[in-house]
């Protein structure tokens, strides 16, 4: 008698690959062939996982069309099966996969659109942590303020794309074909800040300087270190903006490192 582990491994291989022979050997056959019975589960699994990816990547789906998306999703699932039953967390590697997926080679902007969608998805599903109140900073002495290291809010994402993925995202979401056709794809890299606001997802383009400061702040660099690298006025106004939009969840200011 095969062990449960042997059966589960054989079935799992049969679900994710075209080769189900090993699984079929364990399945009883009667008037209905084992392969036809097993095909129900293969199909259920494929539909569930493809639809889960479609929910995370609706703009990629619209850009390439349903059939192309399904083919890409099937290839992705075979290479990157979900490692969690929480399908909200599934699909992080899809952008990287698209970059190496030969049928998508002509669509150089597609991986960046997918990266942006993953950021949007992550922002939408991030915990509702409270935003840092600016008053907590005002009470600090100047030296204590220099030691401040911010903690970014879990619903904020920062990414750099090599095409105007934000413009593509907006035009596709709004079904604005004229706007989509007018987008120039060859531009300098763009840094985007993605966040969740009451009215929905917001995206803001950052200048290279703003992006550098923001990346430092989000990575927990001490405020005095950031200040030594950047113009004070820009830093102050940028921090004020980040605070106003609740982009920090808190800060630490331990006195020794």
């Amino acid at each position: 008698m095969p062990t449960l582990r042997e059966v589960q491994r054989a079935v799992a291989r049969g679900i994710f690959s075209a080769d189900g022979d090993e699984a079929l050997a364990h399945i009883a056959e009667d008037a209905i062939a084992a392969a036809e019975r097993f095909a129900i589960h293969r199909n259920n699994a494929a539909v569930t996982l493809i639809e889960a990816l479609r929910l995370v990547y609706p703009v990629v789906d619209k850009v390439v069309g349903g059939e192309f998306f399904e083919g890409a999703a099937r290839a992705f699932i075979a290479r990157h099966p979900p490692r969690t039953a929480c399908l909200n967390d599934y699909g992080a590697e899809f952008a990287g996969f698209l970059a190496t997926f030969p049928p998508a080679a002509a669509l150089a902007y597609l991986p960046d659109v997918a990266r942006l969608e993953w950021a949007v998805h992550g922002s939408l599903n991030a915990p509702d942590d409270a935003a840092l109140e600016p008053a907590g900073l005002a009470m600090l002495s100047e030296s204590a303020r220099g030691r401040v290291r911010f903690v970014p809010h879990p619903a904020v994402r920062l990414l750099t794309v090599r095409c105007p993925a934000d413009a593509i995202w907006r035009a596709v979401r709004d079904g604005d074909d004229a706007a989509l056709a007018a987008i120039a794809l060859n531009v300098a890299p763009i840094s985007l800040l993605v966040e969740r606001r009451r009215e929905g997802i917001a995206m803001r383009r950052l200048t290279p300087g703003e992006a550098h400061v923001t990346a430092l702040l989000f990575s927990g660099a001490a405020l005095s270190d950031v200040a030594s690298q950047h113009d004070g006025a820009t830093l102050v106004s940028l921090i004020a903006e980040h605070l106003a939009y609740g982009r920090f969840a808190g800060f630490t200011n331990a006195s020794s490192e």
């Binding site: 008698m1 095969p2 062990t3 449960l4 582990r5 059966v7 589960q8 491994r9 079935v11 799992a12 679900i15 994710f16 364990h26 399945i27 009883a28 009667d30 008037a31 209905i32 084992a34 036809e36 019975r37 097993f38 129900i40 589960h41 259920n44 699994a45 494929a46 569930t48 996982l49 889960a52 099966p81 979900p82 490692r83 969690t84 039953a85 929480c86 399908l87 909200n88 967390d89 599934y90 922002s123 939408l124 599903n125 991030a126 915990p127 509702d128 409270a130 879990p154 619903a155 969740r196």
Partner: protein, 295 residues
């Protein structure tokens, strides 16, 4: 920040009336209109993150009793339960204070890969030990009794030695869990394997059935004129399943009963009408049983 204030430490009891499986497309309508529905059941896995889904669920919880129905814990995995997943489900249960918590007599994880479907188990003593260990761990983590649902199945394993109803009863005996009796799954599996649906119901009489599920299914024709019934939750409940439900209510009494509809999700009014029909059967099971013949 969460504004959810727990109403009490003891989980409130879900009434023996019909509720509805709540999916994302109806969140806003439920929040805005507070429709007349006895209770809602949700898939736990849809709320393990944060953001809008969980916020909506907490809002809905202020007005309704909820049941948490898991689809990803994989009670049948030989590897045991995923500790992180279990912890997240336990945290959700602590936050939502559901009236019922349930999972399936299936598996869907192997070596950490999630297969995206509820797969049937080989019905063997080894699998029984595995399921019982996993149910024990689930109940310990949540510090409460859980319900285990009979699956819809399309295949059997050559080396199975135990009838599915006996397997389920053994899990109940050894772990103290309750049964979520999915009437549609009994009907679908009976048709797919040539079992007798009534005999399955009769067998379950030895244990405590604490909830019923009802859903629509479809018929998939196969190459040689045969067909498999597919539990796709995408249509109204079949007349023969309504009749079987009437028989189940006669045997087990009125229990919380859920209308599940997961694909081609209809307007809320359609779901409420199906739930009303189920509530009527819970009160007078005899009326429906004459409608159709059950194998």
């Amino acid at each position: 920040m969460s504004a959810f204030v727990p109403t009490g430490r003891v989980p409130e009891q879900i009434p023996a009336r019909a509720g509805i499986g709540l999916r994302f497309p109806h969140h806003q309508a439920v929040i805005a209109n507070r429709p007349r529905v006895a209770w809602f059941e949700v898939h736990s896995e849809n709320y393990l993150g944060g953001g809008a889904p969980l916020r909506d669920l907490e809002t809905i919880r202020r007005d309704y009793l909820l049941s948490l129905h898991g689809i990803g814990l994989s009670l049948g995995s030989v590897d045991g339960l995923d500790a992180v997943h279990l912890e997240r489900v336990a945290a959700l249960a602590a936050r939502i204070e559901p009236g019922l918590v349930s999972e399936h007599l299936t598996w869907s994880v192997s070596d950490g890969d999630y297969l995206g479907d509820l797969l049937p188990l080989p019905l063997t003593e080894e699998a029984l030990d595995v399921v019982c260990d996993n149910v024990d761990r689930f109940q310990e983590a949540l510090r409460r009794r859980i319900l285990v649902e009979n699956p819809s199945s399309y295949l059997r394993y050559r080396h199975s030695t135990i009838a599915e109803s006996e397997f389920l009863l053994a899990v109940v005996r050894r772990t103290g869990c309750g049964i979520l009796c999915d009437i549609s799954n009994i009907f679908v599996s009976a048709a797919n394997h040539g079992w007798a649906a009534r005999a399955y119901l009769d067998a379950l009489r030895q244990a405590e059935v604490m909830e019923f599920h009802l859903a629509g299914h479809s018929v998939r024709p196969l190459s040689d004129g045969a067909a498999l019934r597919i539990d796709d939750h995408g249509s109204p409940v079949d007349p023969a399943v309504w009749a079987l439900f009437g028989e189940a209510v006669e045997r087990f009494g009125a229990r919380p009963t859920l209308i599940e509809w997961d694909s081609n999700i209809p307007p809320l009014e359609t779901l409420i009408a199906e739930a009303d029909r189920a509530s009527a059967v819970l009160q007078q099971p005899q009326t429906i049983m004459a409608d159709a013949d059950v194998a």
